[in-house]
């Protein structure tokens, strides 16, 4: 009884903190329609800032709390809304999610920059460990009592805000129809900013409360994930009800402490299970949620624009890419070749997103985790030989891909009847689950009767050898690079062919208007399921290649943040284009890594010059900044670049000149007159110079591209927008 009470109190405390974080999520989602995946990172940043004030600079606790909770956190919330979120209107779901991912990754990088992860930091309980009182025979610390008290106050407070104040009622109106609210004299902008301020403060409070309870040591990733768990609670409340959100939070908190307390010690997986529990709960909630109403397309188009190339031009560009890679192989050393290979393989995984998100409008936040599943299957069932001659067999690879497709189907199935956001969260839950339970399954279990010893991820690292298909052996880095490039090109051309087929048109129809596709007789669930399985299969293939290219893989290879970064960079490159996937993959695998290491090397060479180390840290934050800027250009970088260089087709002479210059630079490198980095530099300069030179020599080719292609990015006409408002008013008649 005594023990039960101890665990119950601990569970209530954890639940209260989950509830606080989750109510912040619900608040910002209801008023701005943006699901803030950065909530956990905001909590993390606040916990670090509080530590800095309280323990770093020895401020008194009330002052430190006031500064973080009342001043800095709300300011961060407002700043995020004003600078970033406001610009996301009329963008697709994926753009909105990716921007919050960008903020999450940016805040993580920022925190690691300011607070060196190598230095241990700990938070203490409010009023210290000694401050406790006896409640029903159990000791409760003041800190725990404060956490529960805050939870109750906030639950009641937000409920009152929503139901009994003008501001709260208006806040609920914002998400339904901002235009209508504005007509009635409401101020949706101000309300949304207010809710983001409140959301920021709630995240901060959750972060500061939970740190000492969960051991006290501050870790950037752990804290971010801890608060991310509160998503499950928000789902309980269907992103609307504050009561249900808190009920879900308490359930989560209690369940996780009971697992800790009552699962037999012989179940080694129990501690992993406890960590993974919120994500398992999230998944179960998704299964039992009632079906949403089918969404129609809004009359106003989303701002993303993608053009589909012809098969012929796809084949041409594929040949060019292969030629470039073959030429580069002649001059690159093997470590550069290795990182280019990894980049192109990330590109293959990104292609799974091009199909799923770009063509079908569904979201997968954990593509790399699907790669992990395929890798594990291949490791256990798909290897032949031993030692240096060990290889992945073709059948092993195919089995890995097939299993991944089936797993993908099983994961997606419960979420397919729901809105796109729920599928995204289901995949996120899956990704965290894979990290917490499957990859963390490193110690062998013994099966009771047969005395088999078995673990899914033995010893925490898997050695994955090269692939061998018939006579083709990918053990040399050059062949591996060529093969990866060919696979990328083949899948890319395949996707473009798919997009142009009747299947691809049906995907597009479903993306543009699910309601219209359904009333024409399209079985949406079947279509979504099929496309999700194909996409998971591609991610699985990419995952096996990635593991094989890396040689040995561990938990960090498949951590959820890598998936999130890849998703973000692919959207930055252009989620609707095969070239965007290549760009996203290369950015994820090669470019930023290379950039960082360049700056880091420079900073050590120059005796720790402050400037270079700042630059190297900045280059870690950079991807996030790029992600955040998506609001301005939601179609991604590739369509932009294509537009900039298109006029050069008219200025053939200039183009030829550029190609010649590039060839000369390449030959100089090939004959070792110049170093490799000069080739990169020369290519960059030529790329920048070409349009400028073209404009000088043949200005008539460079008329405004917007005028040349009517219909691209044309703003919707005012009468149509007016019609929406008028219809909304008409609909509102009781």
């Amino acid at each position: 009884m005594h023990l039960l009470l101890t665990y119950t109190i601990l569970g209530l405390v954890t639940g209260a903190v989950y509830g606080i974080a989750a109510s912040g999520l619900v608040l910002t989602y209801t008023t701005s329609g943006i699901f803030n995946l950065a909530q956990g990172a905001m909590a993390m940043l606040a916990a670090f800032t509080y530590w800095q004030f309280r323990y770093g600079w020895n401020w008194p606790a009330p002052l430190a709390l006031f500064t973080v909770l009342v001043v800095l956190a709300p300011l961060l919330g407002i700043a995020l809304y004003v600078v970033v979120m406001r610009g996301l209107r009329q963008t697709a779901d994926v753009t909105k999610i990716v921007v919050t991912i960008g903020i999450m990754l940016g805040l993580i990088a920022l925190a690691q920059w300011i607070w060196n992860p190598g230095v241990p930091r700990t938070d203490q309980l409010f009023f210290g460990n000694a401050a406790k009182f006896k409640f029903l025979g159990v000791y409760v610390t003041d800190h725990e009592a404060i956490a529960v008290g805050c939870g109750v106050l906030i639950a009641v407070g937000i409920r009152l805000l929503f139901t009994s104040t003008r501001t709260g009622v208006a806040m609920r109106a914002v998400v339904d129809n901002p235009a209508l609210l504005q007509l009635n004299g409401g101020r949706p902008e101000r309300l949304a900013a207010f809710s983001w301020a409140l959301g920021g403060a709630l995240a901060a409070l959750a972060g500061i409360l939970i740190t000492p309870i969960s051991g006290g040591s501050l870790d950037v990733h752990v804290l971010t994930l801890l608060v991310l768990d509160s998503i499950a609670a928000a789902m309980f409340g269907r992103l609307r009800s504050i009561w249900l959100t808190f009920a879900g939070a308490l359930f989560l908190g209690l369940a996780s402490t009971y697992v800790l307390g009552y699962f037999p010690e012989s179940w080694e997986w129990a501690s992993n299970f406890r960590i993974a529990l919120p994500m398992i709960v999230l998944f179960v909630v998704l299964i039992v949620l009632p079906q949403d109403r089918l969404r129609g397309a809004t009359l106003l188009r989303t701002r993303e624009r993608f053009t589909v190339p012809t098969i012929r031009s796809a084949v041409t560009w594929g040949a060019i890419l292969l030629a470039v890679v073959l030429l580069l192989e002649q001059v690159m050393d093997s470590s550069d070749m290795g990182s280019l290979t990894v980049g192109i393989i990330y590109g293959i995984i990104a292609l799974s997103l091009t199909l799923l998100t770009g063509y079908a409008g569904e979201i997968n936040l954990a593509p790399v985790s699907f790669g992990a599943i395929a890798t594990i299957i291949v490791f256990h069932l798909g290897l032949s030989g031993s030692g240096l001659t060990q290889r992945i067999t073709l059948w092993g690879l195919l089995l890995g891909i097939a299993v991944t497709a089936v797993v993908g189907g099983l994961i997606a199935l419960p979420a397919l009847r729901l809105r796109g956001l729920y599928l995204a969260l289901a995949t996120l839950a899956f990704g965290v689950f894979v990290s917490d339970m499957i990859i963390a399954d490193i110690a062998p279990h013994v099966f009771p009767i047969f005395h088999w010893k078995y673990s899914i991820f033995p010893n925490g690292t898997l050695q994955i050898p090269a692939l061998k298909i018939g006579p083709i052996d990918l053990s040399s880095s050059k062949t591996f690079l060529t093969a990866s490039t060919c696979i990328f090109i083949l899948i890319g051309i395949g996707l473009i062919a798919l997009r142009r087929s009747n299947y691809g048109r049906r995907l597009t129809a479903m993306k543009d208007s699910p309601a219209a596709a359904a009333t024409l007789g399209q079985n949406l669930i079947k279509l979504k399921l099929s496309v999700f399985m194909i996409s998971a299969a591609i991610a699985g293939l990419g995952g096996v290649l990635l593991s094989s290219a890396t040689g040995s893989v561990s938990d960090t290879t498949f951590i959820i943040f890598i998936s999130l970064a890849l998703v973000m960079l692919t959207v930055v490159g252009g989620i609707g284009n095969v070239a965007g996937a290549l760009m996203g993959g290369i950015l994820a695998g090669t470019a930023f890594q290379a950039l960082t290491s360049t700056f880091t090397n420079l900073s050590t060479d120059h005796g720790g010059g402050g400037f270079w180390s700042v630059l190297s840290n900045l280059s870690l934050v950079a991807p996030a900044l790029v992600g955040v800027s998506l609001g301005r250009n939601p179609s991604g970088a590739v369509p932009d670049i294509v537009d900039r260089y298109r006029p050069l087709w008219q200025a053939k002479g200039v183009l030829l000149l550029g190609v010649m210059a590039e060839i000369v630079a390449y030959l100089l490198v090939l004959t070792k007159v110049m170093g490799n980095w000069w080739l990169v530099l020369a290519t960059g300069l030529i790329a920048i110079a070409l349009p400028a030179v073209g404009r000088l020599v043949q200005p008539e080719a460079f008329v405004d591209p917007v005028k040349k292609s009517p219909g691209r990015d044309r703003p919707t006409t005012a009468p149509v927008a007016m019609e929406v408002v008028v219809e909304s008013v008409a609909d509102a008649r009781p």
Partner: protein
């Protein structure tokens, strides 16, 4: 024989009763009008019939089959097709692809009754008069013509019942006239059953054989155009009490 039968349908949004015991039938080879002031519940009724919205109570039958529990796709397979008051076009596709994809969806229903999508698309483009804009992006069209694309798309599934939700709004006078001719042609040649929601009185009077009047979620009058036109209850609903 009625191809569409709606019996005692009730819908409430929160506390607001939007449809109360609405019953109506649509017969083949004719145009049935559904009129009423803004906010009367016409589009809500269409959403119930096409399966986008579950009614609180009541029954929907298509071609003699009870489809009350079925989803939108199953109803389409029973022969229902519709257009939308707020356009629901596939905005990243061209006009031709918008229509063609409907035929391609039709061909996923099963082996029976597969159609030659290419030829059928050309035929329908020609019939509704969209041939000149077939390869344009659908988002470039003015609203009036975009509505015709929706009708053409709905026809590609070869429906038995066609629900048209304000197809003439945003059309010019000539476009509306041509549209009226198209409707009569469809009814005569294809034996189609059409249910038309429309505010253009001329179009309704010219094309409908039977009219239901909906106001505040209740059918207040039914009959031929002439009967409905002179019904004091209808006049009251539109213009207020004399």
């Amino acid at each position: 024989m009625p191809v569409l039968e709606v019996t005692d349908v009730c819908v409430a949004f929160g506390g607001a009763q939007v449809l109360s015991d609405v019953s109506l039938t649509v017969v083949e080879g004719g145009v049935t009008g559904l009129i009423g002031p803004n906010g009367a519940g016409k589009t809500t009724l269409f959403n119930v019939v096409s399966g986008l919205l579950a009614p609180k109570s009541g029954q929907v039958k298509i071609d003699g089959h009870d489809v009350t529990k079925a989803g939108p796709a199953r109803r389409a397979r029973r022969g229902l097709s519709r257009t939308y008051q707020r356009l629901e076009l596939f905005t990243s596709l061209t006009v031709r692809d918008n229509i063609q994809v409907a035929g391609e969806i039709r061909n996923t229903w099963g082996r029976r009754g597969r159609i030659d999508v290419g030829a059928e698309t050309d035929r329908i483009l020609d019939m509704v008069g969209l041939g000149d804009v077939a390869d344009r992006e659908v988002s470039e069209l003015p609203t009036g013509r975009a509505r015709v694309v929706e009708v053409a798309r709905a026809l590609m599934t070869q429906p038995k019942v066609l629900l048209l939700d304000e197809p003439a709004s945003g059309q010019t006078e000539q476009e509306t006239e041509a549209f009226g001719r198209l409707l009569r042609e469809l009814v005569e040649e294809r034996d189609l059953a059409i249910c038309l929601v429309e505010h253009d009185v001329g179009l309704v009077m010219d094309t409908c054989q039977h009219i239901h009047v909906l106001d505040y979620g209740v059918i207040i009058a039914s009959g031929t155009p002439d009967q409905v036109k002179d019904d004091p209850v209808v006049i009251n609903a539109y213009l207020g009490a004399p």
